[in-house]
């Protein structure tokens, strides 16, 4: 990766928006990596939670939005529960998802969910899944 850092990056409006809707402050993160270390799904993420926050600190809006990380996060709150700085990466991922979903862009088509799953899975999985993946 190569970044050209400009003042506009550091003052990224996108990052400010995410911070506003999530109530988190990316600057609080000092990159200890505890979140990535404890995250049960970071192995599946393009960038682990602390890297996403690092990219936010550097104002790399596109890299943050292009990563699959936000869709992989399950919101188990393990990151937050052990964060020495009280930052919730889970909240940040939710904010990133919300920005996409509020534009009406779905991450998951309901038709694509196989019928046995629709019938067999607990309702709560569907409700929660729709909340997280569907606008």
């Amino acid at each position: 990766m190569k970044f050209k850092l400009k003042n506009e990056n550091i003052a990224s409006e996108f990052v400010a928006h995410i911070e506003k809707i999530t109530g988190e402050n990316a600057k609080r993160c000092y990159q200890c990596g505890n979140c990535t270390g404890g995250c049960p799904v970071s192995f599946k993420m393009d960038h682990g939670p602390c890297q996403i926050i690092r990219l936010m600190q550097m104002g790399q809006d596109e890299a943050v939005q292009e990563a699959n990380s936000m869709w992989v996060c399950v919101g188990c709150m393990q990151c937050y529960s052990r964060c020495p700085q009280g930052v919730s990466a889970a909240n940040i991922f939710e904010g990133l998802r919300q920005v996409v979903l509020r534009k009406g862009e779905d991450h998951q088509e309901i038709e694509d969910i196989p019928m046995p799953l629709l019938k067999g899975a607990p309702q709560q999985a569907l409700v929660c899944g729709f909340r997280k993946f569907v606008s």
Partner: protein, 657 residues
């Protein structure tokens, strides 16, 4: 009519950029009593002071106002200049037109700054007109010092003071001198053996003619003030006669009861009658009262049966002793934070998760394994050890916000000790930043990595759990952006350094400040690092905050030099800005006595010629009074006034506003 001079300082551009100093001087010219005014670029400079002195003489001034920076900066400078010019120094007053005036007003037309400066100067002028000549108070000094804490900082302070020819009382709460340093194996970055360099100093203290050593003792109470403290010390019952005991060890060899050793941090047991470690100073055991069946229920008593000199006395009680001293050095050291806050690391749950001091004991030749690195659970030599730094440190959520400063270095040292003892062993270090600022420190950590092969991983550990007899460490390496899982044989936590449990208590007894982490506060973090706000009380070592051995030793010596400086004069001059009671109108309500934070006001009897008490009045001890003015505010009959700040002066200043 008074003859007053007003000097307005430009302070380069600090004042002049927002205050028209010439105009301020001009305005003062017309004030009654003012015979001379001037504005000048730097009043505090040598030429500035010289001109002040000459003007005082030439114009026969009997008072001056310097409108300049805060009195904290240069009040002393100008008062000294006045004194040299033959004027009573307390006839010099400072009007602060910089800190709360020129620095806070940004009006480029200088209007606001100038108006405010004129007001401030005029007020000071009116106050000055009512100043009386004051003379410094002289108090005697007891030239003996108390050092609280027998770790390396306290020992250094005690030895330096004693070597300078002054008597020292050294109080240590444990049964032996040594503190935390005595527990260490080798020390960074030189790798010399801690006990080898520490024990000679401990012995030196014991043998020093000028040092009185109270071990197993605690300071109960401190009265008095700089130069004149009275200290009450509780000598806890040892149940062993210190004068008779030879330290032969028959008693502890015979004692059948074993308790977890505090000195070894639970890695091994000690007896109920014990010395904390073999090189203890003094080499005299104590009986752990709580766990001794003889003392608790009159059973056993084996130690007394084998004691040749018959020095064991189960009926011994605590002794209270008082000592008069002129200065006090606090050097009470640190504790490690309790790891129980970090259940995710399994300290206490898994035997092979230990803290840094426990590792020191494992690596120490005098430790429970005679210096062999063996894991506590089964005594096997670990083939891999994970060291986790910043456990509790730099963790605002669950620990402390500060950096514990020494862990980066001692962890690097641990990896080296491990490699030197277990050649095929592999160490892993999870760190956030390697903080190796210090002489030969950076080279030391590089050596750990490059020569001794420690694998450094930049990140925190999320959790530690046990699986098939291994400790699984799950963390991150943020440099590669990956999650890292290591199966290790042992885990060492570099736990945060914290203040002693009773630090706040002791601070209150001594009347010194402490911060939110209960570390003692320096008078000024840069310029008065060993002084406290209370005169005659000094600080040394980790009771101030995390620091390493060289710093603790330096601080011990620095505190000692402050004590020596204090003791170099026979009398001590103190500022005469103190409270004064007009005894004729005092109605002895004692509100002032209750209000005084320094216990500086006494209830005094007034007797007639026959020696009968006719009335009671409040009287201020000038030695203790700091001139804070609390009693003045509390006094209902307006009987108390503060010299230099009398009600009359304050009202005059207000009226001038």
């Amino acid at each position: 009519m008074p003859r007053i001079g007003v000097f307005v300082c430009q302070c380069g551009n600090n004042i002049a950029s927002t205050v028209d100093t010439a105009k301020v001087a001009e305005e003062m010219k017309d004030m009654p009593g003012v015979v001379y005014t001037a504005d000048y670029k730097f009043m505090c400079s040598s030429p500035g002071q010289e001109s002040l002195k000459e003007t005082v003489k030439e114009h026969k001034l009997d008072g001056i106002v310097v409108a300049a920076c805060s009195p904290h900066m240069h009040e002393k400078t100008f008062r000294k200049a006045c004194e040299k010019a033959g004027l009573n120094p307390y006839k010099c007053e400072i009007a602060n037109i910089r800190e709360q005036c020129s620095w806070v007003h940004h009006d480029e037309t200088k209007k606001t700054g100038t108006i405010k400066s004129i007001d401030l100067t005029r007020m000071t002028l009116e106050r000055l007109k009512r100043n009386k000549d004051l003379t410094k108070i002289s108090i005697p000094i007891t030239k003996r010092a108390l050092v609280i804490g027998g770790g390396v900082a306290g020992i250094q302070a005690a030895l330096d003071i004693a070597d300078g020819g002054r008597d020292v009382i050294l109080v240590e709460k444990e049964p032996s001198l040594g503190g935390n340093m005595a527990k260490l194996s080798e020390t960074f970055p030189t790798m010399d053996c801690s006990q080898c360099i520490m024990t000679p100093k401990m012995v030196e203290v014991e043998l020093h003619d000028r040092i009185t050593l109270y071990t197993y003792s605690e300071v109960e109470k401190v009265d008095g003030y700089i130069g004149n403290f009275t200290v009450t010390i509780r000598k806890k019952a040892r149940f062993v006669d210190e004068d008779l005991c030879t330290g032969c060890g028959d008693c502890w060899n015979k004692c059948p009861f074993k308790i977890d050793s505090e000195f070894e941090h639970g890695l091994t047991k000690r007896k109920v009658i014990y010395t904390p470690f073999p090189q203890a100073v003094p080499n005299i055991p104590v009986i752990d009262k709580e766990n001794c069946p003889k003392i608790q229920k009159d059973k056993c008593g084996a130690c007394a049966l084998v004691c040749g000199p018959e020095c064991i006395d189960f009926t011994q009680e605590d002794k209270i002793v008082t000592e008069d001293v002129g200065a006090i050095v606090i050097a009470t050291g640190f504790d490690l934070m309790k790891n129980s806050k970090f259940a995710e690391y399994g300290y206490g749950k898994y035997k092979d998760v230990i803290n840094g001091l426990q590792f020191e004991r494992l690596a120490s030749a005098s430790g429970p394994t005679a210096g062999e690195i063996q894991r506590p659970s089964d005594g096997k030599v670990p083939q891999s050890i994970v060291f986790i730094q910043c456990v509790g440190s730099r963790n605002e959520e669950k620990g402390v916000s500060y950096c514990s400063k020494i862990c980066c270095m001692y962890t690097a040292k641990h990896t080296m000790l491990y490699k030197h003892k277990v050649h095929d062993g592999q160490s892993y270090v999870f760190y956030m930043d390697i903080r190796a600022g210090g002489k030969r420190y950076e080279e030391f950590t590089r050596k750990a990595i490059e020569e001794d092969g420690a694998m450094y991983l930049r990140g925190r550990v999320s959790r530690v759990y046990e699986k098939n007899g291994k400790l699984v460490v799950q963390g991150a390496d943020t440099l590669s952006g990956s999650q890292v899982v290591i199966e290790a044989d042992m885990v060492v936590l570099a736990t945060a350094l914290v203040s002693r449990d009773n630090a706040a208590d002791l601070a209150q007894k001594l009347g010194v400040g402490y911060d939110k982490h209960k570390f003692f506060s320096e008078y000024h973090p840069k310029l008065k690092p060993v002084e406290t706000v209370t005169g005659g009380i000094y600080l040394a070592g980790t009771c101030v905050g995390p620091m390493d051995i060289p710093e603790s030793v330096s601080m011990g010596s620095a505190a000692a030099s402050k004590v020596q400086a204090l003791f170099s004069a026979d009398m001590l001059d103190r500022e005469p800005i103190t409270a004064e009671v007009a005894e004729a109108t005092c109605n002895a309500c004692w509100d002032c006595v209750t209000a005084c934070p320094y216990t500086a006001i006494d209830r005094t009897e007034i007797k007639n010629r026959k020696g009968e008490v006719v009335s009671m009045v409040a009287r201020v001890n000038k030695g203790l009074c700091t001139g804070c003015g609390t009693c003045v505010a509390a006094c209902r009959s307006k009987t108390i006034d503060l010299a230099g700040y009398t009600d009359e002066q304050v009202y005059a200043a207000l009226n001038a506003f």
